[in-house]
Each structure stands twice: as structure tokens, then as C-alpha cells.
């Protein structure tokens, strides 16, 4: 008698489920991300998946530095979150140690995902030995952010898409000189502004931070030195290093003390929602007129790009549920929604226009033009990126030159040091 009741109840439960839904053996997925700006949008998309799947999604935001400490501790101790973001700095290490769920079979059986529809650099980044370990969540580019109010105040023309780095130097000089009494600088950049800063100028001049085979660098080459020499001239009229290290370039810009900074598309929301956002505008990064023909030719304007990946833990309780969530987030619907909500640009090709329209009143098309009109290079990475990336930012790396921008010899020496630091770090990998 009891048995029959149980069978009846089970049958009732199965019938009650919508036909499309697959029954998962977990009731909740733990998701880790590091960017609080993106939480609301991603939670919204994940909630839609919850409606279909019946599995709750709990998103935890852990700040960038602790995110990796926590994930590494979790990976060592077997306690990783179910689904989480991957980044070019560390992906190689996680993939080689088989800590991420192999997605190959799932992708093959999934109609919603075709890897050809995504940014190639991001797809390749999360592929190790032919195995796909993460799906592209997004991609980002870099643009020049300027404060129109300061340009007006000091009577300097706004940046345009035709600007070279020399034009930026001229404008920064004019503003720094005119604004000296107010403590206003034309431009501010820290050694830590690499992907969103000085890496770009290095590529414009034809050098590479990390070569295409990920085994070397050309930062110490003549091209690399020419690029950093141009940057040195800009540094001479920019906010001093102690100021950018103590206060931060973002805070300087938002306090109206610097007229221009370079920024990544992942930061738009932070400036869009800040107090004086009506004064802020974006232009494409300047280019380097290396062949001196007065026009921007292919290879003269680069923007770094990078993309996060959605990955799952290799020991996730229900891989089907985890993949289903990843697939939903990376499907055309999820990607379009991510762009429309202004969370980030898509990892999928062709959803960027939706992103441009996500910020009424602010023209952010410079980020899209950067890839349509300029060239992109993938954020330089090796197996253990942080080792050399941190060293380049500190004393013994480029910090010396930032500290003493009036001496060209110091910058040239810093380029040689950087060459040695990167080569040494790669040799130790």
C-alpha cells in the first residue's frame, strides 16, 4: 500500500514538471565572479535560467585579488565553486591541471553553441591540448576617456578619432600648463595601467609585450623603446607617479583633476553612473603614425582585448546543470541580454551594437570602433602572467622610469630590464 502511494506521488511529480525541463540532481549552483558592477545583470540572466531549470543560482562576488587566492585554495582542497569566471592570467594553469570541466562533449551536443560564432582569441585562450574548458563570456577593448568640462575650461580641442599619440602629448601639455594653478593634469597613467594603458602604445609602434608564440617579448627592441620614449614624453606632463599610486587614476579623473585617462570597456558602468558623467566622453585610443603619412594605417592603432570565460569545476556535483547554465549565459539570447543590460560586450560576435545602445546619453561606440576600424591584440599572457606583470610595475621594472620621466636613458634602461624580467619569468615557467 505504502509503495503504491510513493509510486503515485513520484509519477505525479514527474508529470507536474514542464516537458522541456530536464531534471537536475542539484537544487542550487554556486557561482563566483569578481566584478560587483556585473552582479545585477548576470543575476538577472541566471534567474531566467532558473525559471527553465528549477535550479537556483547563487552568485558570490569576491574581489579580484582574493578571488584567485580563494579559487586556488579551493582547487587545492577540492572545494571549488560550481561555475566561475576564468581569466587569461591563470587559465593555462587550471587547464593543465585538469581542474576545469571538459566541455567538449557538451558543446558537441548543444545546438545553441557554435564556437565559430565567438571571438577567436577568447575561444583559443580557454582551449588546451584541443580540449575546450570554458566558453567565452565577453570581450573588452580600450578607449580614451576625457572630461569635456576641463577641455572647455582650458580651451583645448576635444580628442578625436584622428589623434596620434603626439596629439595627446600636445593636449596633455597644454592642459597641464594651463591647469597648474588648479592642480589639474592633462593625463594620468600608472605602471599598473598596462592592458588599459601603455601596452597599447607598444603595439602601435610595432613591438610586442609577449610574442605570438607566448615564449618571448620585444619590449627591449628599437620599436619597443620608441614607443616607451613617446610615453615618457607624455609622462613628463602627466600626473606624477606618487600621485597616481596614492590616489589612483580613476579617482583623479572623477575628482576633475585629470582631463584624460585610458580605460577598458568593463569600467564604463562605473563612469556612466558617477557624479559628473555628463562631462565624460570616449574617443578611440590615439594611433602612432609610424610611417609618417599623416593617416592611420593598418597596424598603427591597436587596442588590447581580453575575454573572460565561463568555466565549471571538474568535480561539480551535476555537470549537466553547470553546463546548462554556462550554455544559457553564452547562447545568443544570454549574450544579447548581457550586452543590452550594459554588463559587458559579448564574447559572441555581432552583439556589440546592443552594447553601444545600453548607455543612453553616453556615446560608448569608441569601444566598438576600436575593433571595426583599428586592430586588436590579445592581452599578453604566459603560463604564470602575474610574476612578470607585477615585476614590470614595480621598482626594477618601469616604476623607475615613471618616477623619473625627464631622463630618456632611464626609460631605455627600463625597457631592457623589462625584456630581461619577462625572459627570466618565461624561462622559470
Amino acid at each position: 500500500m505504502k509503495k503504491r502511494v510513493l509510486v503515485g506521488a513520484l509519477a505525479g511529480m514527474i508529470l507536474a514538471l514542464p516537458l522541456s525541463a530536464q531534471a537536475y540532481n542539484v537544487s542550487e549552483l554556486q557561482v563566483n565572479i569578481w566584478d560587483n558592477n556585473q552582479l545585477a545583470g548576470i543575476q538577472q540572466i541566471a534567474d531566467e535560467w532558473t525559471e527553465e531549470s528549477g535550479v537556483k543560482v547563487t552568485i558570490n562576488v569576491v574581489d579580484w585579488d582574493n578571488y584567485w587566492t580563494l579559487l586556488e585554495a579551493g582547487a587545492s582542497g577540492g572545494q571549488m565553486p560550481d561555475v566561475f569566471w576564468m581569466h587569461s592570467n591563470t587559465a593555462q594553469m587550471y587547464m593543465e591541471n585538469d581542474l576545469l570541466l571538459n566541455l567538449d562533449d557538451y558543446i558537441a551536443a548543444d545546438d545553441a553553441i557554435d564556437l565559430a560564432n565567438y571571438y577567436e582569441g577568447v575561444v583559443n585562450l580557454y582551449n588546451s591540448n584541443g580540449v575546450q574548458y570554458a566558453l567565452p563570456k565577453d570581450h573588452d577593448t580600450i578607449a580614451l576617456l576625457y572630461n569635456k568640462a576641463l577641455f572647455d575650461k582650458y580651451g583645448v580641442e576635444y580628442p578625436t578619432d584622428d589623434w596620434t599619440w603626439d596629439d595627446l602629448l600636445a593636449a596633455a601639455t597644454a592642459i597641464t600648463e594651463a591647469g597648474a594653478a588648479d592642480g589639474v593634469y592633462g593625463y594620468a597613467i600608472n605602471t599598473a595601467n598596462n592592458q588599459d594603458g601603455w601596452y597599447n602604445i607598444v603595439y602601435d609602434y610595432g613591438a610586442q609585450i609577449i610574442t605570438d608564440d607566448h615564449k618571448g617579448t620585444t619590449i627591449g627592441s628599437d620599436e619597443g623603446k620608441a614607443a616607451m620614449e613617446k610615453l615618457r614624453q607624455i609622462l613628463e606632463v602627466s600626473a606624477p607617479q606618487t600621485t597616481v599610486a596614492e590616489t589612483g587614476t580613476d579617482s583623479l579623473f572623477q575628482s576633475g583633476l585629470t582631463a584624460m585617462i585610458t580605460q577598458g570597456s568593463w569600467m564604463i558602468n562605473s563612469f556612466y553612473t558617477s557624479e559628473n558623467s555628463a562631462d565624460y566622453a570616449w574617443a578611440m585610443l590615439p594611433y602612432a603614425d609610424v610611417n609618417e603619412n599623416g593617416a592611420c594605417d593598418p597596424g598603427e592603432r591597436y587596442s588590447a582585448y581580453n575575454g573572460l570565460g565561463w568555466a565549471a569545476s571538474y568535480q561539480v556535483a551535476d555537470p549537466d546543470a553547470a553546463y546548462s547554465l554556462i550554455s544559457y549565459l553564452c547562447s545568443e539570447k544570454g549574450q544579447l541580454e548581457q550586452a543590452e543590460l550594459g554588463v559587458t560586450m559579448g564574447g559572441m560576435l555581432g552583439v556589440s551594437d546592443a552594447f553601444s545602445n545600453a548607455f543612453p546619453g553616453m556615446d560608448v561606440s569608441a569601444f566598438v570602433r576600436a575593433e571595426e576600424e583599428g586592430d586588436l591584440f590579445f592581452r599578453p599572457y604566459t603560463r604564470n602572467t602575474t610574476v612578470w606583470e607585477d615585476a614590470l610595475q614595480q621598482a626594477g621594472g618601469f616604476l623607475d622610469a615613471w618616477q623619473n620621466p625627464s631622463d630618456p636613458a632611464v626609460m631605455a634602461a627600463a625597457c631592457d630590464n623589462a625584456q630581461a624580467i619577462i625572459e627570466q619569468a618565461i624561462a622559470n615557467e
Binding site: T191, Q241, T242, E246, T247, N384, D390, Q394, Q403
Partner: protein, 295 residues
């Protein structure tokens, strides 16, 4: 081990062990296991995620001892201790003596001085970071100066030390007040009758009778100061020019073990620090026998 005991003693011993078992277990799992694992790792070239450690003998040690940044960070740590320990103790002692007297609002003052101890160290550091800011900081605004408190390598170590002193005086003060209350009041009465003034009483009664407490604080604070990490980590940006002249040994350990993922090298750094602290503690114990006054 229970053989030579009477049945009653045996039962007592068993119960005694049972009661301390949670502590013993906690120490083994949370302290001893990590200590021995760290020492083991310091002899290894560690693999990613704690896998594939290969034994390399003393290779890490020769690298650590040969690196100039190791000695620089040891020197930085010692400089920090030279500020934090003496000033933290002298100021706390004076405050404790004053707040041990029957003055109005005594408990309010005690609470105020103890407050930094209750605040999260990260929050304390963030507040000081902005106080010290060259452009917007309150300090430079009040004094109309433009001193780079935390970016000038000649000043930054003092600035960090000041935060350390400010954070610790409350805790030291409470310990001193506890010590002061154990000194019998008769001593002071007798001294007054003999005509000793307040200052004389302080140096002839308070200081010697307080010496066990003072020594306890000196010893624990030296160890505390040598393992300092959070102040430098929170106050100074990674791109701060003064960082190399201020970063402590534990900061360097964090950089290698957690940021660069080189656990073996990091483990070696802390083992060297551990040995250094052990030697120092041994020396201090010898000094204690000579200096501290026991009645």
C-alpha cells in the same frame, strides 16, 4: 603512563586529558600540521595547486639567503619593530598610569584608547591611507604641507610605524592597567609617608613591580611586529615607489606564495623568519632572568 598512579589519580588524569583533548586536537590540526607542512614545502619546488612537489633540498634556502630583497625586507621589518614596540609600550604605560587614577570619565577614556583594537585592521589601514594622502589627505591639509607620507622612502616606514603604534597602545594599556592593579596600594602609601614624590614612586615602585607585565608585552609585541603584514598591504599600493623600502618579510612571503604561486620559496621565507624569531625569543628569555623583578 598511568602505571604508577593510584586508581583515583588515574581517573583524574584520564578526565584531564579528555578536557584538554579539544585544544590538543585544535593545535595539531590548525598549528602543528601546517608548521611541519610549511617546513616540508620549503625543501620543495612546489607544483601548482599543491600537486607534484619535487624535493630540491636547500635550493630554496640558498636563493632566499642570496636575494638582497630578503635582507631588505628583514631590515624593513626590524625598523617597523623599532618604532612600534618601544613607542607602543611607553605611551601605553603613561596612559595606563594616568587612567589607573580615580579621574572623571575614566572608563570613557579607556574605551576610546581601546577602540582601535576593536576595529578591523583593514579598515584602520584604509582610513590612515587617506589621512596620509599627499593631495587630499587631512594631515597635509591641516599642516599646509605637501609631504609624501607614504611614498617617500625616507618617511614611509615611520608613517607605517605610527599606524602600528596607534593601533596597539589600547591593548598594551589594558594589560598595563591589569598589572598596575596587582601592585598593593600600601607600597605607595609607605613611600608617600617617607616623602617620595609621584615621579620617584613611579620609577621606584611602579616600573620594577610592573616589569613582569612589561616583559610579557615586550616579548609578544616583538613577535607581533616581526610578523606584520596587513598595514603595508593595505596602505601601500603595489606601484608605490617606497614599497621596497617598507615591505615586511611576511609581505614578501605573501607576494611569492600567493601572488606568484611559488609556495616553496614563500615557505622558505617564513621558515627563515621563524628561526630568526626563535633565536630572538631565546635571547629575550635569558635577558628576562636578569632584568625582570620577581618578588
Amino acid at each position: 603512563m598511568f602505571k604508577h598512579m593510584s586508581p583515583k589519580e588515574r581517573t583524574e588524569a584520564k578526565w584531564g586529558l579528555l578536557f584538554v583533548a579539544p585544544t590538543i586536537l585544535g593545535l595539531i590540526i590548525l598549528n602543528f600540521y601546517p608548521i611541519f607542512n610549511t617546513i616540508y614545502q620549503s625543501f620543495c619546488k612546489t607544483g601548482d595547486f599543491g600537486r607534484g612537489n619535487t624535493f630540491v633540498g636547500l635550493a630554496n634556502y640558498s636563493k632566499v639567503l642570496a636575494a638582497s630583497e630578503t635582507w631588505q625586507s628583514f631590515w624593513n621589518t626590524i625598523k617597523y619593530a623599532i618604532i612600534e614596540v618601544p613607542f607602543g609600550i611607553i605611551i601605553a604605560l603613561i596612559l595606563a598610569v594616568l587612567l589607573n587614577k580615580k579621574i572623571g570619565g575614566r572608563s570613557i577614556y579607556r574605551t576610546i584608547f581601546f577602540l582601535p583594537m576593536v576595529c578591523a585592521p583593514a579598515a584602520v589601514a584604509m582610513v590612515w591611507k587617506w589621512l596620509y594622502n599627499t593631495q587630499f589627505g587631512l594631515l597635509n591639509n591641516i599642516f599646509h604641507t605637501s609631504i609624501a607620507w607614504i611614498s617617500d622612502p625616507n618617511i614611509a616606514w615611520i608613517s607605517i610605524g605610527v599606524i602600528g603604534v596607534w593601533s596597539i597602545i589600547g591593548y598594551n594599556m589594558v594589560l598595563f592597567i591589569g598589572g598596575l592593579q596587582e601592585i598593593p596600594g600600601d607600597f605607595y602609601e609607605a613611600a608617600s609617608i617617607d616623602g617620595a614624590n609621584g615621579l620617584r614612586q613611579f620609577f621606584s615602585i611602579t616600573v620594577p613591580l610592573l616589569s613582569p607585565t612589561t616583559f610579557f608585552i615586550v616579548q609578544t609585541r616583538i613577535i607581533g611586529a616581526l610578523t606584520i603584514f596587513d598595514l603595508m598591504f593595505m596602505v601601500m599600493d603595489k606601484t608605490n615607489v617606497a614599497l621596497k623600502k617598507v615591505q615586511s618579510v611576511v609581505y614578501l612571503f605573501y607576494q611569492y606564495a600567493f601572488t606568484n604561486g611559488n609556495k616553496g620559496y614563500g615557505a622558505t621565507l617564513v621558515v627563515v623568519l621563524l628561526i630568526f624569531i626563535m633565536i630572538l625569543t631565546f635571547v629575550l628569555q635569558q635577558v628576562e632572568k636578569k632584568v625582570v623583578y620577581h618578588n
